[in-house]
């Protein structure tokens, strides 16, 4: 037998990315965030159950996409900064403050970092809000999608989103969108994590693969 080595598995040398699908939608009284659970390093799936919805404060969450390390680090730093801020103002922080903190880091280090976080939550001043912070931009939107899987569902969310959905309709919309994206994007998959935030707090839910809605499949 010749001294032939097996090719090195991809995950030893490839950067770990959360090639992913994330979505956040406002409804009357709060927001719903959703994400898939696949983390890939090149062609290998290194984690198939990662929760990409990260807590920034009691009623503010962010959804991670892009480089896994970058996104997690930003979320941790902002979590700390928000704690300090909320002690200083002696009140719950605004969603806009959380989004601004994320934007500041993304913008200042935009050459080194490659992560896109969607920040969403509820506060007493403006109710449910969703902010997209791509590459240092900060924009408030009625809903936002991100990650590699989001390309496939642009058409679907454009067509199906309606203003003033109820909480239940919003959750269904998020789960449908995630299921469609996971069906087409090779970098998204696993289970769907859904977080619903309203004035009473945040509720986390996990929808297993076999419970996801099915669509026409030839």
């Amino acid at each position: 037998m010749s001294g032939e080595m097996f090719p090195e598995p991809g995950w030893l040398s490839e950067e770990v990315k959360t090639g992913t699908t994330i979505i956040a939608v406002t409804f009357d009284g709060g927001v719903v965030l959703g994400s898939d659970s696949r983390v890939s390093a090149g062609e290998t799936v290194v984690n198939r159950v990662m929760n990409k919805l990260s807590l920034l404060h009691d009623k503010i969450y962010c959804a991670l996409s892009g480089s896994a390390a970058d996104a997690q680090t930003i979320a941790e730093i902002v979590n700390y900064q928000l704690d300090v801020h909320s002690i200083e103002v002696e009140d719950d922080p605004l969603v806009c403050s959380a989004a601004t903190l994320v934007k500041n880091i993304s913008y200042k280090y935009k050459e080194e970092l490659s992560a896109h976080l969607i920040v969403a939550g509820w506060d007493r001043k403006e109710g449910g809000q969703v902010y997209a912070t791509l590459n240092g931009l900060l924009t408030r939107q009625p809903f936002a999608i991100g990650g590699s899987g989001s390309f496939y569902i642009h058409g679907f969310v454009d067509a199906e989103y309606r203003k003033k959905m109820t909480k239940r309709e919003c959750q269904e919309f998020v789960v449908n969108a995630l299921s469609l994206a996971m069906g087409r994007d090779g970098s998204s998959g696993g289970v769907a994590y859904v977080v619903t935030i309203d004035q009473d707090g945040a509720e986390e839910k996990c929808v297993l693969g076999n419970e996801l809605p099915k669509f026409f499949d030839q």
Binding site: H116, L134, N135, G146, S148, F151, Y152, I153, H154, G155, F156, V157, D158, A159, E160, Y161, R162, K163, N176, A177, L180, A181, G183, R184, F215, F216, Q218
Partner: protein
Amino acid sequence: MERHNSYSQVKGVSTGTTILAVKFNGGVIIGSDSRASMGESYVSSKTINKLIQVHDKIFCCIAGSLADAQAVTKMAKFQLSFHSIQMESPPLVKAAASIMRELCYNNKEELQAGFITAGWDRKKGPQIYVVSLGGMLLSQPFTIGGSGSTYIYGYVDAKFKPDMSLEEATQFSTNALALAMGRDNVSGGVVHLVVITEAGAKHIVVPGDKLPKFHDE
């Protein structure tokens, strides 16, 4: 965000595009946008028709390099008319698709174009065939292609139903193309639809201001 790979990274004039074909109860609809672009920022034609008739009830639509696509469809049209004279009957849709596939497969190094062939014949009724970039031939109840198609995978997966009526299928195709044109900057212009049934082929054009609008427009 990473730039999504698209067919339009080709030489010369390319149809960065959105094309689709849908089977409904009694026929097929084949549709496309109407923009031809060079590179990503110059629109070389706003009203190009990408739906090529290769026989009375068989149409093709093209995605990829426009030059390659025109050359292949011209040759296919010629071979198909010769074939139908020899057989003394209208050609099968599968025959048309096979001719495209032969051309694509045998010239796969030089060509960079994918095709959707759709039509109606007496043997199997309405059919849709996809010939991909390398020359694979596949039959499907509906299919989408071109750079704009990535944005509507979710929409068509959710909304397609087998055995739709003509009205439902027309609405489905128009919505899907409008959504893709709204997100893909190399697709746009007007929507061209061809409805093919036993009775023949009918060409419908939906101009920009009559396209369906969605929540943020």
